[in-house]
Subunit: 321 residues, 6 copies
């Protein structure tokens, strides 16, 4: 069943989320500090037994210069600098196995799949710890450090995401002028942040992006992971303002208003995890050229391979692999 407003109401809906006054300064300083922390990118070939794709185990400096893992997959025998796709993954997962996720390299892109700090023990495996303080919190990462924007988990993760693009642009196999970001669910939310925070990206793909329009999201769904916020506030009953202030710094709606590159969205009207209105909130707020695929009968899996096919078309047109 449709899990949110009617389609007509979704098309008319606009989020009430507002960016704090120092939103841009906050992120400018955060990224400046991360880049100042330095660190090196290492690229180790992996013996996978594959014949058409080369996989490398990458470590790059993320938030605070901390080592973040990734897989770099390249089409074997490609010549000349390649356009790159940087992919972020969904909640609970990590970069997974070297043998998974061969689509983007098989399509001719340099494909960097970033690990997700501290997650990576659910539907796919990860290898990167989180460093931050894990204050009184609900299980998961959505309320880790939520007492202050500076301590919040997603400040660190979004910084990793920006630095992943920095890392891929520095690789000899990659054309730094042709880089796109892509993700689904949490990965889509990260992609929106990257679209706003990284200069001169070519395109962004955000399928059923999570982490958008928190003021509405936390009161219209009981599903995890959004529910972690409500669970936290059910225990910390006097912290409502503090929590919403922190969330405003990482809300995809606020990033969407600042992005200018072409973007592809998808939304699923039977999605019980990411309420469709929160995706429309980000889509309507998005300030660059944009397209939206509406899956009327899908849950949070959204378009699945059909979203991939559309994203492949979208990225091939813009990145010309």
């Amino acid at each position: 069943m449709h899990t949110d407003l009617s389609e007509e109401a979704l098309r008319a809906y606009r989020s009430a989320q507002q960016a704090p006054a120092d939103f841009d300064a906050f992120w400018q300083l955060t990224l400046q500090e991360a880049r100042a922390a330095g660190g090196t990118v290492t690229v180790e070939p992996v013996d996978t037994g594959l014949a058409t794709v080369d996989v490398h185990d990458v470590t790059f400096p993320g938030y605070g210069g901390e080592p973040i893992r990734a897989w770099l997959r390249l089409p074997r025998g490609a010549r000349g600098p390649l356009p790159a796709v940087v992919q972020y993954v969904g909640y609970g997962g990590g970069r997974g196995h070297a043998l998974e996720n061969l689509l983007w390299a098989s399509a001719g892109f340099a494909h960097l799949q970033m690990d997700t700090r501290g997650q990576g023990s659910g539907w796919s495996r990860g290898d990167t710890p989180d460093s931050g303080p894990a204050g009184p919190q609900v299980p998961g990462v959505l309320t880790r450090g939520i007492g202050a924007p500076h301590d919040y988990y997603y400040r660190r993760l979004f910084t990793d995401a920006v630095r992943a693009v920095d890392a891929v642009r520095g690789l000899p196999q990659v054309d730094p002028a042709r880089v796109a970001v892509l993700g689904q669910s949490q990965g889509g939310g990260i992609a929106l942040a990257a679209a706003a925070l990284v200069p001169e990206l070519t395109a962004a793909v955000a399928h059923v992006p999570f982490l958008c329009d928190f003021p509405r999201a936390v009161v219209v769904t009981d599903a995890h992971p959004f529910r972690e916020i409500a669970d936290y506030l059910a225990a910390h009953r006097r912290s409502e303002q503090t929590v919403h202030r922190t969330l405003a710094y990482i809300d995809g709606v606020n990033f969407a208003r600042r992005a200018r590159i072409p973007a592809r969205f998808s939304v699923a009207l039977m999605d019980a995890v990411v309420p469709p209105s929160t995706v429309y909130a980000a889509y309507h707020a998005y300030a660059g050229p944009k397209e939206l695929d509406v899956w009327r009968y899908s849950g949070h899996e959204a378009g699945g391979p059909d979203d991939d096919e559309a994203a492949l078309r979208f990225l091939r047109e813009r990145l010309r692999p």
Copy 2:
């Protein structure tokens, strides 16, 4: 939690399943008729936008000569006849999207992914109808035509599986002496059938194979799809013997006793869908060289990419792509 017997008891467990006296004659006649029905194999290239893998839309004659769909994926630019992997898919799914499942072609194999007649509307899409009578039955295919071995759904599906190998062996890009079959869950059950029914295959991979040891399976799990059998018998209370007689013709235990090629199995001890004892039943009965990976903490997803990695090693050693 462990969903079945203790590990010690699993290692000691042997199935009580027996093959009917005419089991071999039944299948010999079935395949003979299918081959006699003739039909042609068509191979149409698909424009996927991929750079390293070529995908073809294949139609081959299955049971009764009926057209069965498949994807053929080939590593682009490969020279000389390739070893082939024929893959069967899990319950409810179909051959899926052309862009999915790039592993085996990327590893240098000709990869034929067979569609599953009449299924293909659940976790992945299919394009092939079933032709048989759909008698009073429980939703799903497990009780379709279960009133007689001749009418049973899996007689048709297993015949398709054998004919898929016939088809792939006739392709100019394939070395017919180097063909393996592979599948997970229902796909694993089909692979066991193919291992017994197709002469001179090189190897078989059956990850958490479904469709084994029905006499035990139907009384030790409430989970679908095994449960379809119990649901049927809860309505058709006098049909117990008829149903078990039909099932004996397609039980993986009976095929395992007839197979001689090297086989890799996996089993998951927290599997609530395919009880581990039913996998051990097939493994213990298997008459050829065999190996078994035991995933102690996995559910029906079993080894996931770790199973893929091990299967890739197993198949590379035997098929030398």
Copy 3:
């Protein structure tokens, strides 16, 4: 809880469903072909041990002239031609056991309870197979052959329903001028079809009829069996128009607009299976004399014996047994 619109909104609600231009021609041709296929009606007495009711095992020609089973129950010792009630059953069930469902014969009617092709393995047993192609589909019958109106399962089932009336009218114990149709849930949906397709019926009873107002139904409930449609479209994401076009040929709203005989409806406001608005959609569209019982606190069981009591009154007034 009330599962749909407020009572006020339900009273105002009208369906957006539209009949295809060739709707009437489609059904005229379908029935013409079925009647042309011929076939005979057989009536075998059953030894039930009952004293006041005689039960007969009936086989009559349905869609394509295929043999369809039914129970015929007659009050023992009745003289003269009897009025008849033809009953259709709910989703998943079949004609059941000869000893069940003695109400209508005990009330003095000839009672024909039609089996449901291919179902009959759930809450009650059946004995009739379905013949049609079972294309890629979701478990159940709601998406069997949904790719084209001609192949769709319900085309066959509704034809059986019409032919059941033909059969009962030809029985020597029955007065062909006094025949009513009756059903609950799926049976109610079939009764609406029969009310529109069979000339000169006396009355129809449709309790919480299923299969009405698909455009709304598939987006307002997650419950099976309506959900089969959404599950299908979640896999076959590009088939929305095709599916809705097929459904328009069997939607109870379109039959209701064509029916002219007196009809009794019931609706349950806490029904989670058949959303009340879809019943109101059919009720409001119904073009003949009509009455509606509203059960404010019932789920899909609706009025149960209270519906039976009201239907008995309704049918006795009109059929004069």
Copy 4:
């Protein structure tokens, strides 16, 4: 799945339940007092519109002489005294609607369906209140008055059941020498009590009888209604002995040991409500001639109409309607 011991273990299982020393005296006194309380039986015809069955609204004196409701259904036009079937109903239900449950009268029996005091608001409706003290208790009736055998709900209900036979034997249409008792689930447990407490009954039918072998039942299932006992003891942690002492007075195992008339049992091996071992406990303890139907794939619905068919054969042989 099978919900209890293996079939082999079920056949070997014997209950540890013991009757208190004053068990027989307790019931003798209880029934003596009830009969001493007097009261009259009233029989009012109901206008149902049926043609072959006459239904009467009966009130008879039960425990304490309190008025208990029942339906009396008779085959219309029957001559001479009829054999009678007294039916008790399952947990939560009542005597239901006059139009329901026509099987036994249609088969030529006088059929008295006793209402269940204080229940009758669940799957079927009732019309009789309970009079006893409702002490601190879990919702339901299983712990009502459980603090003492004298106050316990089932002392009152079983007394009603005995007095129902007294009442039916006094009806002019009934042959008092040909009376059987019958029930399913709770109704089966009541039938076992009546079989032991009422002299000279002809036969008893207990399908999946509830209320047997409490010492085992309360620790092997989480399902309601047995669970009410565990819920009570989870709150009243020091009352274990008191509760089990009370239950021993109404445990079907203790009645089974005292019964001598022919009895038919059924048991369902996938029954999650009444664990099969508790049925075997009563069956093995039963001291009269007995038969048992084992439904291997059924849940608590057990044989449904197949149980009815077998019970009809069983009762026709013994009661000769």
Copy 5:
């Protein structure tokens, strides 16, 4: 998620509930009869091992003069008459254990915690039976005696609640001019009744009060215990008017309109058990000075210790312990 209307709509919502014409006379007569029945209050010290709080086992005459149990907890060594807090408990519970619930005595109040007749076998234990007729009813107490206001369970329970205040006012340790009533959920509903029925109370606290605004409550939630009403009406389909008439006599909205003492409410917007609109219904109707704490992210646990803290402040200001 928010389980009911939007906050804006909640603030505007007013209940349609109406008091019957004889509402005041009904309660006046009920209480008059209860007081006329007499009975004595007994107070027995309990040896708890506590050092700062003395606990007494109290029995006082309730409805019909029947003995009702309670705990009286007093701060040890307190001098002079104390203000008192009379507490009523939530659905399913009883007065619990002597060692529980030390807050109010530790804060300097005489604290009487009334037992709940017939309940007390769920989340906390009780020791008091109910005496009334338990007519055909759904498990629980919400439909016990619902066929007539005079027989209804809550008539008896609310009378107990009034008589508890009478009892506490007669204790030598208590200042009868300084007595408050307090409760959560069902306890809050009882407190609203007491606030209206007992003259010259000092204050009332009703946290997430249950038993308010039945006309809306029964159609907007599926959760127990409100659901007992709908379950009853699903079986007793013709009793809608009778049931709603009875409920009007105990609906918190009708009591709220008659209360004049200062009251504190709380409501939880994610409460799935007591729909927030039904609390707002009582709050808006409340005729005395009032305050409301809104917990936006809590379920039925509402403010928990934060509600306690606020209630302690509220009561200390008014009762000056």
Copy 6:
């Protein structure tokens, strides 16, 4: 239902868990480092409005000298040094609200309720962050840092628990020779660790202790939080040995073998969260004087207030408040 072995088997069961060779050295070094890190204890009075109990907000140095919060509750007006009870709390909770949990101070003990680092956002609130690396992990704390004993979350938490006793012993109001530790579930597991690690405690209470006998626990229950381990291993399939090696350092069985002070245990045979066999494992291994209360019908709430009452008796006898 009983969730684990039969009572007879439970009494015979012994755990296979083994302590690593350096277990004692590991903890000796850990505690030595923690004490060397220094830090100060601060005690701030809280204005609660209570009359008989004084509450203080305590901060003490825990693992790494990090500030850990606690509540100190004292009976008002007590003279002379008091015996102390140090309480640890269950999984997900924190020290809660100052007004909660008044039992132990009301009974005359100094009561220190330790906060739980990083948790405290579930059923009760906390105020203390965790400092450690939060590596790829399952939501919750059970797999945080599980890759190495040194990094593991419970190394830090158990160190806090030891240091809490150090802190309470240094308070002027406390007699350092009369200190007991107490907890339920996770709190019970911590109490077992403290009983082994802290010299010269007077007694320990471990109600349904969690964190015992991991080798069995992780394969016999699906319930959280034990399930976090299996979930982790389902993703990190090759880490079984690493994980079990880390767990051996914090398993309650290994602490039980080293404890010598009198201990009280409780176990609940219907506990689905902490399998009873794992409690018996610790109880049987416990090397000091011990007692065990068996709650046959309770779930994880175990004895609730009845456990409290028994623990109060146990502690009053040994600590003489």
